[in-house]
């Protein structure tokens, strides 16, 4: 599978990673090499095979409905570059 520059630009946008136009070509080449290599999976017969959704063959455990966490807003925002009155803040968003 070969990826063109436009596809790489689209993926970069979806992944929110700024990629300068000048880098798109090389990145497209690298990603294409990998995507071509993984094509060999097409050789495997997976007819009727359930995809693996979890490694662990167990039931999902459930916890009781009790309040056991939270109550430390200062800790929640302590690592933030920009926090005001225990809010996080980001550049103004227009919805």
């Amino acid at each position: 599978m070969s990826l063109d520059k436009a596809t790489v630009a689209k993926i970069a946008h979806l992944a929110r990673i700024k990629v300068p136009d000048s880098d798109l070509e090389q990145l497209a080449g690298e990603l294409s090499t990998i995507m071509t290599w993984v094509e060999m999976l097409g050789e495997v017969d997976t007819q009727g095979i359930e995809p693996m959704t979890s490694v662990v063959a167990a039931n999902l455990r459930r916890r009781p409905d009790a309040v056991t966490d939270g109550g430390y807003p200062e800790k929640v925002v302590a690592n933030a570059t920009d926090a005001t009155e225990n809010f996080f803040s980001v550049p103004k968003v227009v919805e």
Partner: protein, 488 residues
């Protein structure tokens, strides 16, 4: 099933039909969040109900809340829907300021609840079925505050991770009224079940509206999804606006784009939502931090057995057992507490009279003050006491209205008011005889007219006698004795 009047948008090229589907996000009633132990209460200080899981910190992992699972199953059963014994949690990936981990844990291909139905109760007393496509569990995002700072958006993650049930309807609705009826009915059911408080103002029930238009009988048109609609009235307005917009657009030679739009309640219009440009590529995949959710069939059965009587069944029972008309039954079952209140009033009493007092008098009065039946100044027992006084002829129906008004104001029991004000009905035939005699004496000419065939005057005499007794005379006795006396 009655056919309601068709709702049509009149365009230049003819009439258009509106096709509506609703996605309701209902906040699950639980103490803690879906995947963390932080609290869910409304209105807490910023980021004070946030665990590091909710804030998407490195290395944090989700563990599911058993009550949230139970609530989803209960809701599914209440919607007469299929319960999927295996469901899977997926990650819905998108970047947004109030989505800390960059993905929302939701259910995509294998939701916990499948097909179900809701019966709408329409204004004309008719009903209509709307299909439920699915119900799935997911976590809520945080809250963005755009109005606190001129250049910044503030983020509060208190809501992040709160359990939501997304309930998706089939595109079965054709009028704004049906959409409103759907929301009211869904809210009623959720409240009966105790799985969501249905409070739209606080955001615990939110609605996204899918609207498309088509010429009657044609294929479905392209739909738009309008978000952020937080009242039933706005839902109706948004549908009307969006349908009109689409018709105008198409008739103008344009095409409807499948997009996410935002309802602006101030302007009363919808607009395209810039922040949702990646909406068509969420890159769902099963969340590797969680395992598939397997439910035990016996456990589901147990929940089913514990379900309360739901509004449709209750309405049918009220009509059958209490012989109530469909309207009365519908009003009474719209809220579980209202229905319970009514049943307590009606127990051992005339059910129709009980319904009249609850609906006509009590609900009317509560409506004026905005109170709900749980905070009614007149208890069910007290209202029953009033009805008992009518039943044993202590007071007349007319006096009862007066007593009711007094009860509302003072909170005193009916019997006490009747005693204090001397409102006890006169059933002493001697006193009534006397009053009648006095009225006939004072109106001898009218007596003569009556006796010469002017039957209509009977009402006049009754009125005069009641007036003379300040309304306390037993009307049945007055009628009986008066009829005999007038015959002469």
């Amino acid at each position: 099933m009655a056919k309601t009047m068709a709702y049509r948008i009149a365009g230049e090229t003819g009439e258009w039909e509106v096709v509506i589907g609703l996605e309701v996000h209902a906040q699950v009633v639980s103490n803690a969040k879906l995947f963390s132990g932080a609290a869910t209460a409304f209105g807490a200080a910023p980021n004070s109900q946030v665990s590091f899981v909710d804030a998407g910190f490195p290395g944090m992992l989700p563990v599911i809340n058993e009550v949230c699972v139970e609530q989803a199953v209960r809701t599914g059963l209440g919607l007469k829907a299929q319960i999927n014994l295996r469901s899977v949690f997926d990650r819905k990936n998108y970047f947004y300021a109030d989505l800390p981990s960059g993905y929302q844990i939701s259910q995509f291909q294998q939701p916990i609840v499948g097909h179900g139905t809701i019966v709408l109760d329409l204004a004309d007393g008719s009903t209509r079925e709307v299909g439920i496509t699915r119900l799935h569990l997911e976590m809520d995002a945080g809250k963005s505050l755009h109005d606190q700072n001129p250049t910044k958006t503030y983020i509060d993650l208190n809501r992040s991770g709160v359990a939501l049930m997304e309930i998706v309807s089939e595109p079965d609705m054709r009028t704004p009224e049906e959409a409103a009826a759907y929301l009211r009915k869904l809210r009623t059911i959720l409240r009966y079940l105790g799985t969501c408080d249905g409070n739209m103002e606080e955001g615990s029930m939110r609605c996204d509206i899918n609207v498309s238009v088509r010429k009657p009988g044609a294929e479905y048109g392209t739909r738009t999804e309008t978000k952020n609609v937080n009242s039933i009235r706005y839902v109706q307005q948004a549908i009307e606006y969006e349908a009109q917009r689409q018709v105008a657009l198409i008739e103008d030679g344009g095409v409807v784009v499948q997009e996410t739009r935002l309802w602006d309640p101030n302007k009363g219009e919808t607009r395209s939502m810039r922040s949702k440009e990646d909406a068509h590529d969420y890159r769902y995949f099963p969340d590797p931090d969680l395992l598939p959710l397997d439910l035990d069939a016996a456990w589901v059965e147990e929940i089913k057995r514990s379900l309360p009587e739901l509004p449709d069944e209750k309405k049918a029972r009220f009509m059958a057992d209490y012989k109530l008309p469909v309207y009365d039954a519908g009003v009474l079952v719209a809220e579980r507490s209202r229905a319970d209140f009514y049943e307590e009033v009606a127990r051992g009493r005339d059910p129709k009279m009980a319904a009249n007092f609850v609906i006509g008098d009590l609900l009317g009065a509560l409506n004026k003050t905005g109170a709900d039946i749980d905070s009614s100044p007149i208890s069910a027992a007290a209202l029953g006491g009033l009805i008992d006084l009518i039943a044993d002829n202590t007071i007349s129906g007319r006096i009862a209205k007066e007593v009711f008004a007094d009860m509302l104001e003072t909170g005193k029991p009916a019997a006490q008011i009747v005693e204090e004000k001397g409102l006890r009905q006169v059933t002493d035939t001697g006193a009534i005889d006397q009053a009648i005699a006095a009225v006939m004496a004072a109106n001898a000419d009218k007596v003569a007219e009556f006796r010469s065939g002017k039957d209509k005057l009977f009402g006049f005499f009754v009125g005069q006698v009641m007036k003379a007794t300040q309304g306390k005379a037993n009307p049945a006795l007055v009628n009986e004795i008066l009829a005999a006396k007038l015959k002469g």
